[in-house]
Amino acid sequence: MERATDLLAAVEATGAHAFVADTAPIIYRVERTARRVLVTACDPLFDAVATGRLSCVVSAISVAELFIRPAAAGPAAVATMETFFQEPAVEIAAVDYETARAAAGLVAEVPRLADAVIASTSLRLGVPIVTGDRQLARAVPGALLIGDFV
């Protein structure tokens, strides 16, 4: 089978109608000043979320990370960050018992706990994770590394 050349095609090729977005790609989407190739690699994916073609699942761990800087910057930044989460096709995955339990089992391959929780969310839901983190992408079957699509 031919390898997908863009992230949107790669997610859709998995047959999943959703993906787990790691924290960094969401930052690329909302703040726009990261390396342009990364921003433009992720845009078609988030455009598909905006139209409801795909769902974007965000771990509660990422939600916490994503609000750290806006919380320090003030209410306007927090409100703008919230607009991302108000998109109808953006869903939050709680870190429930099963997810946390599975994450603990992944720590051997994914040493950082936050990475392990996000990986566990992806594996439990059976949808690919989209990440900029090479180590995380290597450790999680089916993960899509943004760097492979720039």
Partner: protein, 102 residues
């Protein structure tokens, strides 16, 4: 902005509409106009309390307009994570690891 409860108290109650067998209801034209809900819009219904349902417009947005909103110079999130967001995420996650091993 007044709460929906205050608005209900202020305004004369509209005429009731009956819920159909399959759960459909007609949104009163005046209410739709006031809320900016137009034919073709997507809405979600959110149970608020027994007998109270909130209908919220959520329609799929034009992705270009969303990107434009983030591209604006006055976007308060611009540059907030520094020039390399991946490095920022690494820093935050490494703090967890340091605590795990301490």
């Amino acid at each position: 902005m007044p709460s929906w409860q205050d608005k209900l108290k202020e305004q004369p109650r509209p005429r009731p509409t009956r819920v159909s067998r399959n759960g459909q209801i007609v949104l009163a034209a005046r209410a739709r106009r006031e809320c900016g809900i137009e034919p073709g819009d997507l809405v979600v219904s959110v149970p608020v309390a027994p007998g109270v349902l909130l209908v919220e417009k959520v329609g799929a947005r034009d992705p270009a307009s969303i990107r434009e909103q983030y591209e604006r110079e006055d976007n308060p999130l611009r540059g907030l994570w520094g020039p390399d967001p991946d490095a920022w995420v690494d820093e935050i996650r490494n703090q967890w690891s340091e605590r795990q091993t301490s």
